[in-house]
Symmetry: C2
Subunit: 345 residues, 2 copies
DNA sequence: GCTTGGCACTCCGTATGCAGGAGTGCCAAG
DNA sequence: CTTGGCACTCCTGCATACGGAGTGCCAAGC
């Protein structure tokens, strides 16, 4: 329904408006782009584009600005994602290289994303439920209190105290420890409840209650999805850069971005790391963020994604560049958090 | 040098300006406060106060605004700190009560402080170096790799991997574990390096290198002050509320507040929990935060403070209320993080 | 000597009017 | 279908004018 030139006009409008933050008129368009037609022709095309809802006029006799629908079409027609420059790749590598633990990886990722995209960056912590158990340890604190430590493949450490009625002898403890590890190591968390059920059977009556308490705590620790909800955010200073006329909306934005729940909603379902999700304006599943777009993608080793990261910015953003950055960062973090990654000492 | 009425006039100016965010004139002052003198008299007092640098005029024929010096005098003359209402106390208690671990305590504290004061809240994590060791554990990962776990009195878990040349037998490992705990438990971190020095002497030649590696890692873990630098921040949405005319400065503020280093500088030296530090305007040790004041206090069990928390707000803030909130929150967090606190299961 | 009412003065904020400019829509010709 | 021309709309910036709020100072009163 739109011919090639109209698509070109729309693209030019989007690009110019993103660059200048000002409604773009027909004259400026033909001057800055190689359209090879006159302003009048462009005006006709614009009239059609406006009729179809891809662009709009702030007021009569102003230039045009893209609507959400216009941005959507623009993004959908993007074929090649701009590759990162060598310098940018280096920046990504050096910034993420020195991370000392999981927290540090996430913090650095947020910062990097914010710097690269000059938007607000959001990174979800690798979800416990999707990572695997690397090691389970039982530590004797007192005769009747153990400390349970579960270490996951992504370097996360879950700890729980277990109060036990009957003290466990060293042998029994070693036995229990070995069985727990046998049942859990290498498996995804939250996937091993069944294996643990029979575990207490191997122990004598007296110890039974203690073992049961331990197992119950293990189950709780590995099926507790509290950790799934952790989110890091950064680059909020970029909100101030969102463009003039946005001053009024920075407060609701900041408020929204302080709510973990909202952030998780924005990040949405974790997708395959190679898939970018772009939600534009009204497509964003949170009504208080008017005029905002969200670009997200999953990250994690291989095809199974651990969590989601992305950015929030004004609908008026440089989509090609932003998408490229988000993708590049997600890929790099994925490689860093590959299953065999361990925090360097 | 200033008589009682002039102090009263200054206080009235501060209170009105804080409430209205508008320069306050002589007429409004006598109407809203019980000064029992005429506007003309107030004007004379104002002239003196201005001459002494406590108040200023944005321009001729405008009302007066307190200067940093004026706020300083106002704060210094505050004697009674407004006590918290019962409802507020309940709010504090219920909000902090449900915390499940250290991270959660800090996160909730930030949120609480931000809500109570309606300012930007900053909370430093309890410093490793000031807490004590509760337990040290060595976990065998592989024959040549151990996991070292140090648990502190505040619930923080430090973990390190140790690569060892010679595998350790279970007996030796148990021995080493026992000695480490004997040397460290109950002591402040970073205070036990000396005790550890001779520890390797008790082991045979072959094991010596492995033990030395473990000890080195322990020393590193307990003297690593990286953890000291962790800071949580919240309530940045309140920046937007700082008052009209602050729009321009919200970006540099947000930028400053994303820098851990800056935040630590703002929090300053940890003080005794019962001492409130108030820095006003130019007294703030960071030049980019113009027009901002910082209210901080230490927190921690008893008199030894673990870390610092506080708020950042416009110089034009309700000092009595803010100071009361900061103090109340610090006290409550101190009681929660008392030395015998452990994360509830 | 401090306090007070009066009064002239200053300055800000807002409203008003006007000119310039950018951009459009439409039309008729190529 | 494209193009140049033209009238029209609406925003923006600028200058001007005006009312209001507040001050500083002075002279009178307690």
């Amino acid at each position: 329904m739109l011919d090639d030139r109209k698509h070109a006009v729309l693209r030019a409008i989007v690009e110019d408006f993103v660059a200048t933050n000002e409604p773009v008129g027909s004259r400026a368009l033909v001057e800055r782009h190689d359209l090879r037609v006159s302003p009048a022709t462009v005006r006709n095309d614009m009239a059609v584009l406006e009729e179809e809802g891809f662009i709009a006029q702030p007021h009569t006799s102003a230039g045009r600005i893209p609507t959400d629908k216009g941005y959507r079409l623009f993004v959908d027609r993007l074929t090649t994602v701009k590759p990162m420059s060598a310098a940018e790749k280096r920046a990504i590598a050096t910034l993420l290289e020195g991370a000392v633990d999981l927290d540090d990886v996430v913090r650095r990722t947020v910062r990097l994303l914010a710097q690269l995209t000059r938007q607000v960056a959001i990174v979800q912590y690798p979800t416990v439920s999707r990572s695997t158990v690397r090691h389970v340890e039982l530590v004797v604190m007192t005769a009747h209190r153990l400390l349970l430590v579960v270490i996951t493949s992504t370097g996360r450490v879950e700890q729980r105290y277990v109060d036990i009625a009957e003290a466990l002898a060293d042998d029994d403890l070693g036995d229990l420890r070995a069985r727990l590890n046998a049942a859990l190591v290498g498996r995804p968390l939250g996937d091993s409840a069944a294996e643990l059920e029979d575990l207490a059977d191997g122990f004598d009556g007296e110890l039974r209650s203690s073992v049961t308490a331990v197992v119950a705590t293990v189950v709780e620790a590995i099926s507790d999805h509290r950790g799934d909800e952790r989110v890091a955010i950064g680059g909020t200073a970029n909100l101030a850069r969102f463009g003039e006329g946005f001053e009024a909306s920075v407060k609701p934005m900041l408020e929204a971005l302080e709510e973990q729940v909202v952030l998780l909603k924005l990040l949405g379902e974790a997708t395959n790391p190679s898939t970018l999700t772009v939600r534009i304006g009204h497509e964003v599943p949170y009504e208080d963020l008017t005029g905002a777009s969200v670009v997200t993608t999953g990250y994690g080793s291989g095809s199974k994604s651990l969590a989601t990261l992305g950015i929030v910015g004004p609908t008026r953003m440089d989509y090609p560049a932003t998408m490229a950055s988000v993708r590049a960062v997600a890929r790099y973090v994925s490689s860093i958090l590959a299953d065999d990654w361990q925090p360097p000492r």
